[in-house]
């Protein structure tokens, strides 16, 4: 079980308090101009990276808020957590 730092509660809490919410920084295309390929990519294509990966979590059994995290997907080590809107910190490759 992971120990995750909620950047809003500013506490390390066990993983079962959180819900994983998939890849972070997936930008919604403009519906007025996006074609099927752009929508398909937005909805379904994922980086699924083996290495340092930016993802979203939600502190469902805490503050209830979404935030972002950098995690290494082989060791599962959490490198950083940060608020939405903040730039992705440098976590190496």
């Amino acid at each position: 079980m992971l120990l995750i730092h909620c950047p809003f509660c500013d506490m390390d809490r066990p993983e079962i308090e959180f819900r994983h919410a998939g890849e972070a920084h997936v930008a919604r295309p403009d519906p007025a101009t996006a074609d099927d390929a752009a929508w398909g990519a937005y909805l379904y294509l994922r980086e699924n990276r083996r290495g340092v990966f930016a993802e979203r979590w939600r502190h469902v059994h805490g503050c209830g808020r979404f935030f972002n995290a950098l995690r290494h997907t082989v060791s599962d080590r959490l490198i950083a957590t940060y608020r939405p809107g903040a730039p992705r910190p440098d976590g190496g490759a």
Partner: protein, 417 residues
């Protein structure tokens, strides 16, 4: 290849079983092949076998970064069934089911396919409706699936707790009698042996680290830890690592990779005659021929390549198992392990062409692709050999995530093995 027969078994037994030859050639990679298969799991090996046997394509290499069958093929709980909801899926898994029935004979290798019946339990009104809908849909498609009352469930699997006063009482079950299990290692070894005898090179400890493209953009070979290999056609069958391999050709995939775990108990006398699955409380169990209770748990909550599942996930499953099967409560668990499964948004596989000429992909089997192994290899071999999908895998395109023609088994069964 020496064929197995009753006489050969007796002969080797009399010789103390010390003179069995290797079952497939250990091959070093050659400079060039007609087809390179990336990934030596059951699906990749079956693909190579059918390429050689049905399409006469024999200059084939299967490149495996570890040892064959060491991925999900050797890590799964071996449940086989074909009672999926949508016609496309039912046809795909039934194609495999038909092949399972004659596979040991076709390969001259005992894959221990055991049609002992797979029961999927219903614990609430919604489960009952969904289960019965599956039964009706399957029967319309000519696939056996029948509805059992709680009493019949108890008769079919006497160690199940069918009393009404448990947290998730059993309200019925869908039973596919042809469903069952097979021996996972034997499936990998049987296909490897058959393919090798037909001339296919099975190259272990050979990781693909790059995909080469020519001036037109088409694939022309791979870079591996054992040197470069030229090939005009490449089939990627890398399960949980498919996104990583496809990224080498610049193709993004609709996949997320998750750890999925299983565990086995100490061996006991035969106590369980069938396979039982419960999607609602996420537990499934069967008994291996060695006597171990084979238990499957859920995926972890987040994508990962760690190949180990979290303990709280397996504890959750064991709580459910202990309630459903009180008789196993005091069994010790001998081993637990994880695999990395490649999950698509609609929980259906992708088997077909890619935007890159000469590059084919077979992936997305997620938590439930063992049962499809022979059928998947069969239709993928057709796709690679002819450059066009077989009718059975034609709906399972990569392009469906652009067109929106999803095959939504995700909604049909939240967990599917």
């Amino acid at each position: 290849m020496a064929r197995f027969s009753f006489a050969s078994l007796i002969g080797h037994a009399l010789a103390g079983n010390r003179r069995w030859p290797a079952q497939w050639r250990e091959a070093a990679p050659q400079a060039e092949y007609d087809v390179v298969i990336v990934g030596g799991g059951g699906h990749g090996l079956a693909t190579a076998y059918y390429l050689a046997r049905e399409h006469g394509v024999r200059r084939v290499a299967v490149l495996e970064k570890g040892w064959i069958g060491g991925g999900n093929t050797g890590r799964n709980t071996t449940i086989i069934r074909s009672n999926y909801l949508w016609p496309e899926s039912a046809a795909l898994y039934e194609h495999a089911m038909q092949l399972w029935q004659g596979l040991s004979r076709a390969l001259n290798y005992n894959v221990m396919y055991s049609p002992r019946g797979v029961m999927v339990l219903a614990h609430n009104h919604h489960d009952v409706l969904v289960g019965q809908r599956h039964v009706h849909a399957n029967r319309l498609a000519g696939i056996d699936n029948e509805w059992l009352t709680p009493g019949q469930v108890g008769d079919f699997c006497p160690i199940l707790n069918v009393s009404r006063d448990i947290r998730y009482p059993i309200l019925g079950a869908a039973l596919q009698r042809r469903g069952g299990t097979a021996r996972h290692d034997a499936v990998a070894w049987g296909f490897a042996r058959g393919a090798s005898a037909l001339g296919v090179d099975i190259v272990e400890n050979c990781e693909v680290v790059g995909i080469d493209r020519d001036a037109t953009g088409a694939v022309c070979g791979v870079q591996t830890t054992r040197g470069p290999i030229r090939a005009p056609r490449i089939g990627v069958v890398a399960a949980g690592h498919t996104s990583v391999v496809m990224a080498m050709a610049g193709v993004r995939m609709p996949l997320e990779s998750y750890p999925l775990q299983a565990l086995v108990s100490e061996p006991v006398k035969p106590a369980m005659p069938c396979v039982v699955m419960s999607n609602t409380i996420h537990a499934y169990m069967s008994q291996s021929d060695k006597g171990e209770m084979v238990i499957g748990a859920g995926t972890d909550a987040y994508n990962s390549y760690s190949q180990t599942g979290a303990l709280h996930i397996s504890s959750h499953t064991l709580e459910a198992i202990c309630e459903l099967f009180p008789v196993v409560r005091r069994l010790r668990m001998l081993r637990n392990w994880g695999g990395i499964v490649d999950v698509t948004p609609d929980r259906s596989p992708v088997v077909g062409l890619t935007p890159v000429a000469g590059l084919f992909v077979n992936c997305g089997w997620g938590t439930g692709g063992f049962k499809a192994t022979p059928g998947s290899g069969h239709v993928f071999a057709h796709t690679i050999a002819t450059g066009r999908p077989h009718p059975v895998n034609a709906p399972f395109t990569l392009d469906r995530f652009r067109t929106g023609n999803l095959i939504d088994e995700a909604a049909a069964a939240a967990v599917a093995h």
